[in-house]
């Protein structure tokens, strides 16, 4: 019988108090990402292992040939499956989607599929008859906050890394035949990835609530503390000129305690792919703009890392430059 994790009053009070002193529990600065590690499978194409701090996500991209939808004969299929198993955290139940899980799959769907990261028209083989169905399976292995960020990075990197088998079409008219060449026979073909979306989640803490959270308990000795805290905070506010603490890449503990969040997906073309805001906290225009700017910066950094890792993987696979020589698009 798994339950939602309930943060205690102690954690709530402490985190808010620490944030007014501009301290995070893992000693990061407010806009600092956790250590990000991306690694690719050495045997298969399109299998990515992403570690964001203690959060760990594996994405696997696969492709098969199917019939396109009748109303979209020129488009291939692209499906992202994000089912969270109890392996990630005991709060997730197998086979039953929690609200959090729905939000996560929705954001990933919006970030990658609906932003057109993968050109589905390029997946068409014979219009109305045959197309590629690309499938991204996301497995959440460990949950320490930032599941959607890690999943988005994993799928983006997976799409870049994936290679589908080369195909040729023979014959004319209704007697056309599709020949699939196994990857042992011909160099497989990369997918047409148009841009690399990277999702960044910002967590908002209303540090003014720090005092109200304490005064929520009606004890005399604590009431005295509140007065002192209030005085301190007012001084803080004058310095910072804001009562909102904005944290990048929250841990699970921070996620449970935050008052609001915003997920921004951006790419290196400085495009915002999607914005999703949750929680019951209103956010200023200024904060929204600065978050978008910060998201673009993170996207640039993460994309750089993905490309670096891809290059390393390529170098490891491509011994003696044979893959380049044998590419399908070369002249024969």
């Amino acid at each position: 019988m798994p339950r939602d994790l309930t943060p205690s009053t102690i954690e709530n009070t402490f985190v808010l108090k620490a944030l007014t002193e501009r301290i995070r529990l893992d000693s990061r600065s407010f806009n600092q990402l956790r250590d990000l590690d991306i690694s690719f499978s050495s045997t298969e194409y399109g299998v990515v292992d992403v570690k964001l701090g203690r959060t760990r996500v594996i994405a696997r991209i696969s492709a098969e040939i199917t019939q396109p939808y009748t109303d979209r004969p020129y488009d291939g299929l692209f499906i992202i499956s994000t089912e969270i198993s109890p392996m990630a955290a005991p709060t997730f139940e197998a086979g039953r989607k929690s609200e959090d899980e729905l939000v996560i799959s929705r954001i990933i769907e919006k970030s990658i599929r609906r932003s057109g990261a993968l050109d589905t028209e390029s997946l068409c083989i014979i219009s109305g008859e045959k197309c590629w169905a690309v499938r991204a399976d996301v497995h959440f292995l460990d949950h320490d906050g930032g599941l959607m960020d890690a999943a988005c990075i994993a799928v983006s990197a997976g799409l870049l890394h994936f290679r589908r088998p080369d195909i040729t079409i023979e014959g004319v008219g209704s007697r056309r035949e599709v020949i699939v060449h196994p990857i042992t026979e011909r160099v497989p073909v990369p997918l047409a990835v148009l841009h690399v979306p990277v999702c960044v989640t910002f967590s908002f803490f209303d540090v003014r609530k720090a005092s109200s959270a304490i005064s929520g308990r009606t004890r005399k000795d604590e009431a005295k503390d509140v007065d002192e805290d209030d005085v301190e905070e007012e001084e803080e506010e004058e310095e910072d000129d804001s009562s909102v603490a904005v944290l990048v890449d929250a841990t699970l503990q921070e996620e449970l305690l935050r008052h609001g969040y915003m997920s921004v997906t951006a790419n290196t073309n400085r495009e915002i792919c999607q914005i999703q805001k949750g929680g019951d906290m209103p956010v200023d225009v200024g904060v929204l703009l600065s978050c978008s700017e910060a998201a673009i910066m993170v996207a640039e950094k993460v994309t750089k890392l993905i490309n670096k890792r891809l290059k390393e993987d390529e170098a490891r696979r491509n011994v003696g430059n044979l893959l380049v020589e044998a590419r399908a698009e070369n002249d024969r």
Partner: protein
């Protein structure tokens, strides 16, 4: 007390484990098997978990040696007499007899039952504590069985009937550690050879600590910054050898003092 890394299926070096201490007894060496070791009769012992093979020798008669495989992972399984850190999430019962529902994070049985009479000085209904939801309690598991389902908790020292550090915790901060580390922190001094991270920290800075076997610790100290530093030190120390651990702890605490 000795320990070495062992993998499932490895042979257990029984001779070195038992040593010569027990040979002088009349009945021959007595070995008790702890978790992670499978006994295939008549005399095959097989480790079935990866971890450190740990032996505890009882020097007082009857002499015996306990061997088990110590791992730091896994989910906490409640056991009677374990101390845990939980959060009050509800209350039920009438005024005469009411119970708190306590969530035990990281536990295989996630909810414990704490009677409002299971506190020190709780004989009268007027002296019983009134805990609101979200309160953190340090409690002892007084009864648990798989059939019972929910562990029963108590918040007083069993021997003295007094508070003894149990009950509501105020201030400070909670943090997660592995259940292996929680076990090590609670072990008697020197059981794992040499001083622990708590000893190293205690030399540098005054602080309060409560360790729950369910892999949670509670820390309170002079400031937010210091509490964060102490938590970081304890979490990081788990994966460091002893010499490096003390150095690292000193560095973290000094870093927190500087600013």
């Amino acid at each position: 007390m000795s320990s070495e890394v062992i993998l499932p299926g490895d042979p257990i070096p029984l001779d070195s484990v038992i040593g010569n201490d027990l040979d002088d007894s009349d009945s021959g060496p007595v070995i008790q098997l702890g978790p992670g070791i499978l006994h295939i009769p008549p005399e095959t012992l097989l480790p079935i978990r990866a971890g450190t093979l740990t032996t505890l020798t009882r020097s007082k008669p009857p002499k015996s040696t306990t061997i088990y495989v110590d791992t730091s992972g896994g989910r906490y399984v409640p056991a009677v007499q374990d101390t845990i850190l939980g959060t009050v999430i509800g209350r039920f019962g009438d005024q005469e007899k009411s119970f708190y529902r306590v969530s035990i994070p990281g536990s295989a049985a996630p909810i414990g039952i704490l009677s409002s009479a299971a506190f020190a000085n709780a004989a009268s209904r007027h002296t019983r504590p009134n805990l609101s939801n979200g309160t953190t309690v340090y409690a002892r598991i007084s009864a648990f069985s798989i059939a019972l389902g929910e562990p029963e908790l108590e918040c007083f020292d069993e021997n003295t009937g007094k508070e003894g550090g149990f009950g509501e915790l105020k201030g400070g901060m909670l943090a997660d550690v592995s259940i292996g580390l929680a076990r090590r922190l609670l072990a008697p001094n020197g059981a794992y050879g040499g001083p622990s991270v708590v000893d190293a920290l205690g030399k540098l800075v005054p602080f309060e600590i409560a360790v729950g076997r369910n892999g949670r610790i509670w820390i309170d100290s002079e400031s937010c910054k210091m509490t964060v530093a102490i938590i970081t030190a304890i979490q990081e120390a788990e994966e460091l050898p002893r010499e490096q651990m003390e150095e690292r702890v000193q560095k973290i605490i000094k870093g927190a003092r500087k600013e």
